[in-house]
Amino acid sequence: MVEKSSDKIIIHAANVDKWFGNFQALKGVSADITEGEVVVVLGPSGSGKSTFIRCINQLEEHEAGEIVVDGIEINDDSRNLQKIRSEVGMVFQQFNLFPHLTVLDNVALAPRKVKKMPKKDAEELAMAGLTRVGIPEQAIKFPTQLSGGQQQRVAIARALAMQPKIMLFDEPTSALDPEMIKEVLDVMRELAESGMTMIIVTHEMGFAREVADRFLFFAEGQIVEQGTPDHFFNNPQEDRTKLFLSQIL
């Protein structure tokens, strides 16, 4: 296992509640994540995995509890929100690239507009990012001209261009054809090895076992069990965990 550079807690969530109308999607979720840690979130569909990671960059507003990201507390101050979002990158199941912009512009736009980087610098940064995810030659194409795997790699490059400290992945390979899953996982593996703090929702158990420092298992809006991959594969405690693993493996 990779040696952690520090034990600094970079994400602190305590007793987070989230309601959708009358339905409680998160019930007092608490988790501390240290810098450089790779956390894989598991759980059946509808258990609140997406909702949890979307609370971290406030795509969903939580109703109760505390979330602190890199020392910045999420509260009503919109400047805090902006600061957190530029430190937290996110990759979505459906890629969500901007279809009216070239691949290069998709990646360069945020550094230019949010960090006010000069156009030339932002484009250099974007090209470096595209090279890192292995598709520099696609820079002047439009997203829809790319395969799903390539699009998802662009999406990763777009998030990385903001030079975030934390990356969130919400089922990044679930919308991909099987032959394209590996190219995306390879990029994520490289990212994990580089020391990025990552929270990944995925059903790719082989990959998860390989890169994760810790698994969080969600059921019905709560973290039911957590531990190392080995703990989960060899010695799961809760019945719901065992049931889930038996279905997925």
Partner: protein, 406 residues
């Protein structure tokens, strides 16, 4: 980005028609059964008869009225010594059109040559060789010059960004320039405005001012979490759309003076200004619904992606939402603008003498009695030229944005 990629461009139109006929199903379909043959023959007879009738009308029509009244058709009774206020706008329009089409649209050589020919023929036949014909010709050459400049600036030198900036600045400054020239100094009052000039100005102002307003209205109506804004914008749109344009124009003429605030003498503004206000509002309400359609078609994921990379609301709006929404609704937008342009003929009801009204006054004159058809065909032709250019332009823009293909 390829230049002039028309297929088969080495063949004449006739050759291409024959080739298309040979290739298509038409050859086997037209005379497939006795019924097919009968329908084909009947159609042929109708087409020949129509062409013959139109040809006869073109040759034998009393076209003198058009030539005599050509000034009135264009600018009504605008005084000759003030016509210099209009020409610079026309030239500027020609120049930015030339620049822009070379930069972004790349019409083939063929289109350019036919435009040039048409322009020369019009200025020769219609304007005769007086000073206005010269000024018209000057405008044409400026347009072509702009085209050539941008074309060679792109292919031979790396000047495209410079020309692009000039073209964009030109479009932005076009209407302000026009208004300044029309009002500066001892300008004739708007009572003197008339002819096609009025239709174009009214439509242009309503489009240019009304569209941003429409975007604001559409955003207001789609906004979530601010019910007051939603109620306000929704009622505005629905009330404006609820009554016919005529009713609003009468309102503008007879009621607006009493309800407008007195800033800048707004309550005493003349009828054209009030008509402009009405048309802006009217166009904004309809365009808002078009824009709203575009906004609602944008998937939720686009908002989430924009939020997640740290964009503010206005950055998301300007960089992500509006470009996509406006592209998606471009055809409906142009459709709305074409309708608006034709609706400007209704202003004759509040005694503004637009191009159609000039025509009506002309064929009611004793000298020109019996020329109603000629006049109406001519006015119709003018409208057709403008609206046809608009729809062609939108087609070109769509192609360039890859709307149909993506």
């Amino acid at each position: 980005m390829s230049i002039d990629s028309q297929p088969n461009s080495n063949f004449s139109i006739l050759q291409r028609l024959v080739m298309a006929y040979e290739d298509s199903d038409a050859k086997s379909q037209l005379f497939k059964t006795k019924l097919h043959t009968a329908i084909t023959l009947v159609t042929l007879v109708i087409v020949v008869w129509a062409l013959f009738t139109i040809g006869q009308f073109m040759l034998n029509g009393e076209w003198q009225v058009i030539i005599d009244k050509r000034r009135a058709f264009m600018i009504g009774r605008y005084p000759e010594e003030h016509v210099w206020r209009i020409w610079p706008t026309v030239w500027m329009f020609a120049a930015v059109t030339g620049l822009s089409s070379a930069l972004w649209l790349r019409p083939g050589k063929r289109v350019l040559i036919s435009l040039l020919l048409a322009g020369s023929i019009i200025s020769y036949l219609f304007l005769e060789f007086d000073s206005n014909a010269l000024k018209f010709g000057f405008g044409l050459s400026i347009g072509l010059f702009g085209y050539a400049l941008a074309y060679f600036g792109d292919t031979k030198f790396k000047l495209t960004p410079v020309f692009a900036k000039i073209a964009i600045a030109g479009w932005i400054l076009l209407i302000p320039t026009m208004l300044v020239l029309l009002f500066i100094g001892d300008a004739p009052t708007t009572n003197y405005w008339g002819g096609l000039f009025v239709n174009v100005i009214l439509a242009a102002i309503a489009i240019v001012v009304g569209t941003p307003l429409a975007v604001v209205l559409a955003l207001g109506r789609t906004t979530q979490g601010y019910p007051a804004i939603q109620i306000l914008t929704t009622s505005f749109i629905e009330i404006v759309r609820g009554a016919p344009l005529i009713a609003w124009l009468f309102m503008g003429r007879f009621v607006l003076p009493f309800i407008l605030p007195s800033w800048f003498g707004l309550n005493e503004a003349d009828v054209i200004i009030r008509t402009m206000i009405i048309l802006i509002i009217f166009n904004a309400a309809y365009t808002a619904e078009v824009v709203r359609g575009g906004l609602q078609a944008i998937p939720k994921g686009q908002y989430e992606a924009a939020d997640s990379i740290g964009f503010t609301y206005f950055q998301t709006l300007r960089l992500i939402l509006l470009p996509q929404a406006l592209r998606a609704v471009l055809p409906s937008l142009i459709n709305q603008y074409i309708g608006l342009f034709k609706d400007t003929t209704l202003v004759y009801l509040i005694s503004v003498v637009d191009v159609l009204e000039v025509g009506r006054k002309a064929f009611n004159e004793l000298n020109y009695s019996g020329t109603a058809l000629e006049v109406l065909v001519f006015v119709g032709f003018l409208f057709w030229v403008v609206t046809w250019s608009m729809s062609n332009l939108s087609k070109k823009v769509e192609e360039n944005l890859g709307l149909g293909t993506r």
